[in-house]
Amino acid sequence: MSNNERVLKFHILRYNPQLKGDIPTMKTYEVKEAPGMTIFIALNDIRENQDPSLQFDFICRAGICGSCAMVINGHPDLACRTLTSKFPDGEIKLMPLPGFELIGDLSVNTGKFMRAMSERVESWIHDQYADNVDLDRLEERMDPDVADEIYELERCVECGCCVSACATKRMRDGFLSAVGFMRLARYALDPRDKRSDEEFYEIVGDDDGVFGCMTLLGCQDYCPKDLPHQTQIAYLRRRMALVR
């Protein structure tokens, strides 16, 4: 952290699709850097003191909720935990995450995409008895290692970085993307989910699914939670290839 106060330059894409005739433009804002400043702090400073119309999304501001993914100097990442001190020249270019419907400026509609993804992979435990479990009795046992492994895959925060970093998704609009593969892999690993490989194949066994992946692995490179996308995609592919 430098003790000399710097003036940061934020170059931000401005566009409000709600305003008729609005044209996307890049606007530059200057902000005096403070110690420990994150992009969360800087953007709020701009909104409060320079331009109250600036749109962006933050919820937890602690890297937990996944709301604030944006393209920061060309790389998708969580803005809330990105320190401005990371950028030696003090020039920070912010763009909304591609691959999602734009709400305005840096705000995108990840919610719609993620709900559709969850519906597509049927992101829930498939067990006809799940709703008839006797809640008074001991829960079904699970191997402690299996529980830990499931949690590893469940750490995804649906931020959308993997979707925006995916070249296949850019070419194929219906591509499920790494977030969907990870979700499916999580349920495939879970002994409580009674779906068979044939049933999983119905969901991901095509070019919009796991066979469409070109293995460029932007997902692996840009996942803020360091989830094992590469391993899981390779594993799912092998497992699905064995189905037919």
Binding site: P52, G63, R115, P144, Y151
Partner: protein, 656 residues
């Protein structure tokens, strides 16, 4: 005029709100959830450390049951809670956790055999029983007799919220995202839904429902520094208050968490101390045993936060450009443990502080964390004065936390209240056909439209961001951990001025669609009113109870203050809320007031306490053969939905 009809409208898409929508849906009622953002981003996701439920599978949880959990919860609340509700809660918590297990939460499990843990700064080996292998395990948390906090690493809230939202998706429950309820629609003491603003298009839509539930979380953002998400602004509480009919309960009961990082206030879980972490001062000295020789770092949150503040005031804090702080030391837990069970904490330290908590101490300070107060409800979750209005989770004052909540009891409350209140919401939908005049809807819609056009047309006036900052600073400086008459009365006066000024907000950016400044302008006057409820309630309560600590009234005063604060705002033009009180009846308590066992017991007792203690002794003597369930029914019979009445099984104990 656009109107959306449903049976059960839920405002807020966190754990409590989703669970209520699920309950109503499973009973065959249409449910719509309104959320400011995708439901999976709700603040519930930030709960790291765990959920309390007395499963007693881990060896350190052996002997745990509903009674022990009840006792901890009541003591933790400093006898301010509703004991009927606490009873319903402890009985249902094991069922809630088991249901979430069936719905997919990968709870961390017991592994049979030896494992090394850190207790009181020492490495100790404990041996888990063979027969518990694979059951849900638990960790230690503050203010609890047993290791009762069940967890998924330190991502408990995340995994619970994902399982819950996925269940809602499975059931086809609609979550209407980026929608904000700005007013409740009501007439003659009955609630009929809400006026809702679309945060993208700016359109106002009326959501009309048989039952309306407020599940919008806490009001932490009334404070300048808080662990809460930026959306925890209490707007759900405010729209209930603005009806003038529905009261808020115990708004002055605000919890400060001992270990948020400095300066940004992001939480590091109580699991850090539960798993053996220590608090150190500027000399690297472990000071908590000097203050609280019994529970040390694992005293209740309010106690630890006060002790830390006292220690800092003695000059023992570490000075920094952001003010004094103390250290949280988890280095003694070792890399393996931290990377597995405290990995969110590790990430937070790396990203926001640039330190590795495996090797370095974490700078921490007590920080606003939880709102015990909220929309006052009966044990059914319904407002006592407004039919059809329900509330659950942190937004509610259901009141199982009284004046201090135990760690791990908040996510537990969200799902347990969701289950219980959800049944009552469904009952309400079954019994009350929707009967509303569209003129009423129009009237409420017009009122909100007019308010917004006034904001958009005013040329000169107050800046909403500035007003909010001033309010947050007043709350920080004058309505904090330690309180006194001078500060509180100043806060009340200053907030009155802000309230006046908030009637004259003008915008720089005058468009009605997606406009962050307009959102702020709508919220800030509501937040200022809530702040007034907190500050005024704190000024009037002349005792110390739980998290409400008065320097000028240090004793808990059961004689005069064993009562719940109810705050109303009947006159829109008034400068202060109206405050009433609701007595807590000792003669009905299963556990009459006693000592929490921290520091000196300087309680001023209520005359009924002695009477009730004697009465309980008699009942116990007269029924020497009653088992613990029969005894509980004798001491305090409670209503609970049939579904959740059963006894809970525990390993090695059966249903005893």
């Amino acid at each position: 005029m656009k109107v959306v009809y449903t049976d059960s409208l839920v405002i807020g898409g966190g754990l409590a709100g989703l669970r209520i929508a699920i309950a109503a849906r499973q009973r065959g009622y249409d449910s719509i959830v309104l959320s400011l953002m995708p439901a999976k981003r709700s603040h519930s996701a930030a709960a790291q450390g765990g959920m309390q439920a007395s499963l007693g599978a881990s060896i350190k949880g052996e002997g745990d049951n509903e009674d022990v959990h009840f006792e901890d919860t009541v003591k933790g609340s400093d006898w301010g809670c509703d004991q009927d509700v606490a009873r319903m809660f402890v009985n249902t918590a094991p069922k809630a956790i088991r249901q979430l297990c069936a719905w997919g939460v990968p709870w961390s499990r017991v592994r049979k055999g030896d494992r090394e843990v850190v207790i009181n700064g020492q490495k100790v080996t404990i041996t888990e029983k063979d027969e518990a292998h694979g059951l849900i395990t638990s960790r230690d948390f503050g203010g609890t007799k047993k290791w009762r906090t069940c967890f998924t690493s330190d991502g408990t809230g995340h995994t619970m919220l994902y399982a819950m939202d996925n269940k809602a998706i499975q059931l086809g429950i609609q979550v209407h995202e980026r929608k904000e309820a700005v007013a409740l629609i009501h007439e003659d003491g009955v609630c009929y839904g809400a006026v809702v603003r679309d945060l993208v298009t700016g359109e106002l839509v009326a959501y009309v429902a048989k039952a309306t539930t407020i599940a919008t979380g806490g009001y932490g953002r009334l404070y300048a520094v808080t662990t809460n998400a930026v959306i925890s602004e209490g707007i759900g509480n405010a729209i209930a208050l603005e009806t003038g009919i529905a009261p808020l309960g115990n708004m002055e009961a605000v919890q400060f968490h001992p270990t948020a990082i400095v300066p940004v206030g992001i939480l590091t879980t109580e699991g850090c101390r539960g798993d053996g972490g220590l608090l150190l001062d500027k000399d690297g000295y472990r000071f908590m045993p000097d203050y609280e020789p019994g529970k040390k770092e694992l005293a209740s949150r309010d106690v630890v936060s006060r002790r830390m503040t006292e220690h800092i005031r003695k000059g023992k804090g570490v000075s920094s450009r952001y003010g004094d702080h103390l250290w949280l030391d988890i280095t003694l837990l070792g890399r393996q443990h931290i990377e597995k069970n405290l990995r969110e904490v590790k990430e937070i330290c790396e990203y926001f502080l640039g330190i590795d908590p495996v090797k370095e101490y974490i700078p921490v300070r007590p920080t606003q964390h939880y709102s015990m107060g909220g929309v006052r409800t009966r044990s059914t979750g319904e407002s006592p004065t407004m039919k059809g209005l329900f509330s659950a989770g942190e937004a509610a004052c259901w009141d199982m936390h009284g004046f201090n909540r135990l760690g791990g009891n908040s996510v537990a409350e969200t799902v347990v209240a969701g289950m219980i209140v959800g049944e009552y919401v469904a009952d309400y939908c079954a019994q009350n056909p929707l009967n509303i005049n569209t003129k009423l809807i129009e009237q409420f819609m017009d009122r909100e439209k007019e308010k917004i056009s006034a904001l958009l047309s005013r040329d000169k006036g107050e800046n909403p961001f500035e007003l909010k900052k001033e309010m947050q600073q007043i709350m920080m400086d004058k309505v904090g951990i330690f309180r006194n008459e001078a500060d509180l009365s100043q806060a009340v006066e200053e907030l009155k001025v802000l309230h006046q000024r908030s009637k004259n907000i003008a915008l720089r950016h005058k468009i009605s669609s997606s406009n962050p400044e307009l959102v702020e302008a709508i919220r800030v006057p509501k937040m200022i009113r809530l702040a007034q409820c907190v500050a005024y309630g704190a000024m009037l309560r002349k005792e110390s109870r739980g998290a409400h600590a008065r320097e000028d009234y240090p004793e808990r005063n059961d004689r005069d203050w064993l009562k719940r604060t109810l705050t109303f705002w009947p006159d829109e033009n008034a400068d202060l809320p109206e405050v009433k009180y609701e007595d807590l009846d000792i003669m009905k308590m299963e556990m009459p007031p006693g000592s929490r066992g921290y520091g000196v017991d300087n309680t001023i007792h209520h005359p009924d306490t002695e009477k009730r203690v004697a009465q309980l002794e008699e009942i116990k003597k007269a029924n020497p053969n009653a088992d613990r369930f029969e005894m509980q029914r004798l001491l305090n019979p409670i209503e609970i939905p049939d579904k959740f009445r059963g006894k809970n099984e525990r390993v090695g104990k059966g249903f005893k």
